[in-house]
Symmetry: C2
Subunit: 363 residues, 2 copies
């Protein structure tokens, strides 16, 4: 029977992969030959199929080890149509939030046995997002996760090549058929605003992020709703970019108004600018004015003073988005998308109280 015969007979082909020639890596056939089995049996061992005699399995494993065999994932992908690679479309990935998201996603993907390929887009138009998806699709990714802070990305996602699973993470998760994972921005804004009102402030001013970013809009919404609920007046907002410069400029104006005693900023960078503006105009924080941020960047605790802020758990966000994507790929109906509720994951943020908030100054 075949098991007993030595590994070197078999009609004696003229040793094509012999000693000469370019150093081609060891392949399944080499392992099979050494173990005295067929390549198919090697494949079975590799994929953990049942119906392989333990003794045979050991012999194959031993052969793989001694030849230092690694399977060629390209060939596997071609045959199975599954690349075990996920595509990530990123935007502004040098910022702390997106970078953290990327980090969390990569980690979760690896644990699930996937490699991630990253494409960053510089503008949030439909065109470059479609191009990115196309590129990823050509590279045969099994699914796509888009870091999608603006609606343009999400709508572009809906036009993905059919059959390619996708998930949007971040943004506001507008319902347009693409499963999404996001932070509850409105809740975060409520927590911040509530905190300030509870400290006794008559109202809370807000330095908002860009108006066309759903995340910024949601934070405005949560802030306004909380003020309304409390019967507090709602000051005007003037949306700006997510950086310290915006906070500084807006802060200089707010600082002139002695009625301003509490400011909720759309993110920590804006808060940094606001803090500097207040400092420069001689308004002390938190004695004269309280400030709250959003994100909990790594060093927010070392601003002057340490910043009270709303923490987003980006790692969790990454984990949840991978889970959602994999569920969808598995055909799990709970994640199928399209109107059902399980395809909208919302993660709760958390208020971190530090030294930049206190009660209003006595009048």
């Amino acid at each position: 029977m075949t098991v007993e015969r030595p590994a070197t007979d078999e009609g004696a082909p003229p040793d094509p992969g012999g000693t000469a020639g370019p150093p081609r890596g060891t392949i399944m056939r080499d392992v099979a030959k050494l173990a005295g089995v067929s390549h198919q049996t090697v494949s079975r061992v590799l994929n953990g199929h049942p119906h392989v005699r333990p003794e045979t399995r050991l012999r194959v494993l031993e052969a793989m080890r001694s030849l230092n065999y690694r399977r060629n994932l390209t060939a596997r992908t071609l045959a199975t149509r599954r690349s075990h690679t996920l595509g990530i479309i990123g935007f502004e990935t040098t910022l702390f939030g997106p970078a953290s998201l990327l980090y969390g996603i990569e980690h979760a993907a690896r644990e699930a046995g996937y490699l991630v390929s990253v494409v960053t887009v510089r503008e949030l138009d439909r065109r470059p997002v479609l191009a990115a998806m196309d590129r990823l699709a050509q590279h045969a990714v099994d699914g796509i996760i888009a870091i999608a802070p603006k609606a343009a990305i999400t709508t572009a996602l809906a036009q993905a090549p059919p059959g390619l699973c996708r998930v949007a993470v971040g943004g506001a998760g507008e319902a347009d058929g693409t499963p999404a994972v996001r932070i509850d921005n409105a809740l975060g804004a409520r927590l911040a605003t509530r905190h300030l009102l509870d400290l006794g402030h008559a109202t809370v001013h807000h330095v908002a992020g860009p108006a066309d970013w759903p995340e910024a809009a949601e934070r405005v919404r949560g802030w306004r709703a909380t003020l309304d609920d409390a019967g507090a007046p709602v000051p005007p907002v003037d949306p700006r970019w997510w950086n310290a410069k915006s906070g500084y400029e807006r802060g200089r104006l707010l600082a002139c108004d002695p009625a301003v005693t509490a400011i909720f900023c759309a993110n920590d960078r804006i808060a940094l600018g606001v803090l500097r503006a207040l400092h420069e105009t001689g308004r002390s924080v938190p004695a004269d004015v309280s400030v709250v941020g959003f994100d909990d960047m790594p060093d927010s605790g070392y601003f002057v003073p340490p910043l009270t802020t709303v923490r987003q758990d980006f790692t969790e966000l990454g984990r949840r988005s991978i889970a959602l994507l994999l569920g969808q790929m598995r055909g799990d109906p709970a994640h199928a998308g399209g109107g059902d509720r399980a395809d909208r994951v919302v993660v709760a943020p958390e208020l971190v109280v530090r030294g930049s908030t206190a009660g209003p100054p006595p009048r």
Copy 2:
């Protein structure tokens, strides 16, 4: 001759890719059939080979367009052994520096026609780095770029699977055979220290980064050399982690010593902590103490006061590392590695003077 015959004869196979069946994408054969040529001719058109009649080429292109054909890169990779994918091994990619590097690398790679796959490692031991390389190698990347701030990564890189090109970016570029791209950290430190000395300070204190990070060590070296050259005393250093907490703790100590009038910090985050410590102890910046950072993070210009710092051009760094890697892959001898000098690219940083530096206080 074959060109004239309609696309539908050819022994009439029973329309295998017809209307029924699973929606398999269009492949080269479909295009070939529609254009009335062989699949090989389609391949020639796709790869821009000469010796294709212009008329034929147009017919093929037209067929590709009308079928919305996209070539299967997996099959191409299997046949050519080139995946047009690069592997990136990242460390601490949520920090501004590495995140920017990643961004720059991805951009440059895309322009060169490559996709990037990212693996982040959590510890800088040899083991996880080797595992990361292994994973990337299995996915058939054409080359590897490692964001390599510590020596452990670089030495691990040297053990990469033979034949796999690699480049280290960041770190200090220790000569161990791996081509490397890096910032001239010593020069950056010199610029900062020189700037402070030129302002009239008797000496410059330094809050260093972790001792086992070559980048931190190089900055210490540049700082010390500059002091030596000027005949200034060299205060002791106490290496710490790259965050604001370190700067704060060290800053509290330095603030107690009235002789301290100038502090050079190993990065902007440390500088943030130092600024806070000085502020809390009532030492004014820059009137009493001058502070310089390193990195030029996005909001350093909005610290209190705006931070004078050393700017690293991460985008350029990414561009250069891709260029080096591609040159090496091309077999270009100028980039071959192994003792020759062209495989050590050093990028010069730049001093950005803002409001945190001034002359020493009058005694």
